[in-house]
């Protein structure tokens, strides 16, 4: 009997189906294909439920009564709570850009372009990406664990039994808070980063202060700023969607195990998946929007 280690003991809709392997209707050589198909189906089902999850979470934003106080709490957690992390990330990456940029540009005798290089990199790429990655690591993981624990301790079931919509009550405020906070944090990242680049490139490396800012104002137009803004919106949605969704479906995720262990695995998964998703979507968005 061929046995797939990943299938064992996880309650899911798949387990309700007949197993052709057990009935010997499929020969042993076909078993890998059977399992491949099986895993693809599970993946599709997973994507489908994540899709429905996104729709419900967005619909929950428009259901009354709106939970204003919860939104403020989440804004404080996701937004205000990330300010220090974002500040230091932005400062150090801006300073690195300043150093690295003036070193590279010096080789071409183009150190007058330093401001332009630093600000374009920050506004269009590093700002949105690093902000999203930091928020995924800091707030996404916490949100995933919180929702996962509420799921396994039946608190989400309890909400549903009180006929309180868990999306409106619990999940949609987190979505809205992320969608508001991340673009603002990104803007802050850009400003601090540009200032860091100035510190390193101009103050330490001695580039010209006037051309740092004039080259910047020449190369940055609304187009660049819009691209950065769109990216940060999309990244915010990706991070909160994947983090909250993984937690919400903790009991259904294959191979995650049960209880505390399942929450820890799913939390890791949330951070890894949302980071990868951010990087992939960054490429796609850049390709489309440039």
């Amino acid at each position: 009997m061929v046995h797939c280690p990943n299938c064992g003991g996880i309650p899911s809709s798949r387990t309700q189906r007949q197993n052709p392997l057990q009935n010997n209707t499929i020969s042993t050589w076909a078993a890998p294909f059977y399992h491949l198909g099986d895993h693809c189906l599970a993946l599709l089902a997973d994507l489908g439920s994540m899709g429905l999850f996104l729709v419900s979470a967005l619909a929950g934003l428009f259901r009354r009564p709106f939970r204003g106080r919860e939104l403020v709490r989440q804004l404080r957690f996701i937004g205000a709570g990330s300010i220090a992390v974002i500040f230091f990330t932005a400062l150090s990456s801006g300073m690195v850009l300043g150093l690295q940029g003036s070193y590279t540009l010096n080789k071409f005798g183009a150190e007058g372009m330093l401001g332009s290089a630093v600000s374009l990199t920050l506004i269009m790429e590093l700002g949105p990406i690093l902000t999203a990655l930091m928020v995924a690591g800091r707030a996404g993981s916490a949100i995933c664990a919180e929702i996962g624990i509420m799921r396994i301790s039946e608190q989400i079931d309890a909400l549903e039994c009180m006929a309180v919509d868990p999306f409106r009550y619990l999940i949609s405020p987190k979505f809205l808070a992320a969608i508001i906070s991340v673009p603002l944090l990104t803007a802050m990242f850009d400003v601090v980063g540009i200032w860091g680049g100035y510190l390193a490139g101009v103050q330490l490396m001695g580039a010209n202060s006037g051309s740092y800012f004039s080259s910047m104002s020449q190369s940055i137009t609304n187009h660049e700023i819009r691209i950065g803004l769109i990216k940060s919106f999309v990244f915010a949605l990706l991070v909160i969607w994947i983090s909250a969704g993984r937690g919400y479906f903790v009991y259904r995720i294959r191979g995650a195990g049960f209880g505390a262990e399942s929450v820890s695995k799913v939390t890791t998964q949330a951070v890894v998946l949302s980071s990868i998703a951010v990087l992939i979507f960054d490429y796609l968005l850049t390709a489309v929007l440039l």
């Binding site: 003991g9 387990t15 309700q16 301790s153 608190q155 549903e160 009180m162 309180v164």
Partner: protein, 257 residues
């Protein structure tokens, strides 16, 4: 206590319901085509050994789990076929106490009990406070309202869960082991509270309990779940007369007859 089967309305009805869990290699059949009903406005007690499917039965009624086959009718409507929004509508009728109480662990006792009132009614904060405090006093929880669930004992959690379940004046209450973890005096108090509340509110009650034989005093109907089968009795003394040996055995051992 007697009842006439013909004359009463049913609140919940199980029609040939089967439920299995687990992997195809290790399939575990919890309910095997069970048929039974809960009479409206009365108390039905579900008993049976540990792991026989009592909590699963309650989750089936609420639509939190789906059966493999069969119908589960609540006020004549099949829960199995309902979508999310219909289920949400249906659940407004219920007050539920989970076996593990399922309190919101980042909210205080007060906020836990106030949650259904805040989310589902338009009551003012002062009215909510008055209602919650009154319930806390009945359940001897006064003075604990600022504590978090992690700071409570097992029995206190159960009582907070009960208080939360009863806030919205439910038509049907489902209590999973309401007195487990309570001392004998408190258990008696809870039972008399149930009787008072049922007289006041006229709700239909389904109580899962291991507290045999005491809980049978509350029962208008008793359902024994064992090895995938459900056997219905109208009173405790009938159980001993059952023609199934394992049920007579259960009765002898648990009821001390």
């Amino acid at each position: 206590m007697t009842y006439s089967a013909a004359a009463e309305a049913t609140a919940i009805e199980f029609v040939r319901v089967s439920k299995t869990f687990g992997d195809r290699e290790r399939r575990h059949r919890v309910l095997n085509e069970v048929n039974w009903a809960v009479p409206k406005g009365k108390t039905t007690v579900i008993a049976g050994g540990s792991g026989q499917g009592k909590s699963v039965t309650l989750k089936l009624i609420l639509g939190l789990l789906k059966p493999d086959s069969g119908q589960i009718l609540v006020d004549g409507e099949d829960v199995v076929k309902m979508g999310q929004s219909q289920l949400r509508q249906l659940r407004t009728k219920f007050g539920v106490l989970f076996q593990g109480a399922a309190l919101f662990d980042s909210l205080t006792v007060f906020e836990n009990i106030a949650l259904p009132l805040r989310e589902r009614t338009k009551l003012k904060e002062a009215e909510i406070r008055a209602k919650v405090m009154a319930t806390l006093a009945t359940l001897e929880l006064a003075g604990h309202e600022e504590k978090y669930p992690a700071q409570l004992s097992g029995g206190m959690k159960k009582r907070v869960g009960l208080a939360r379940a009863l806030q919205l004046k439910p038509e049907i209450v489902l209590f999973d082991e309401p007195t487990t973890g309570l001392d004998p005096l408190m258990t008696l108090e809870i039972y008399s509270l149930f009787q008072r509340m049922q007289r006041q509110l006229g709700y239909t009650a389904v109580i899962v309990s291991h507290d045999i034989p005491k809980v049978f005093e509350l029962a208008d109907r008793i359902v024994l779940i064992n090895k995938g089968e459900a056997d219905v009795f109208s009173e405790a003394s009938e159980i001993i007369k059952s023609d199934k040996p394992h049920i007579r055995d259960f009765a002898e051992k648990t009821m001390g007859i």
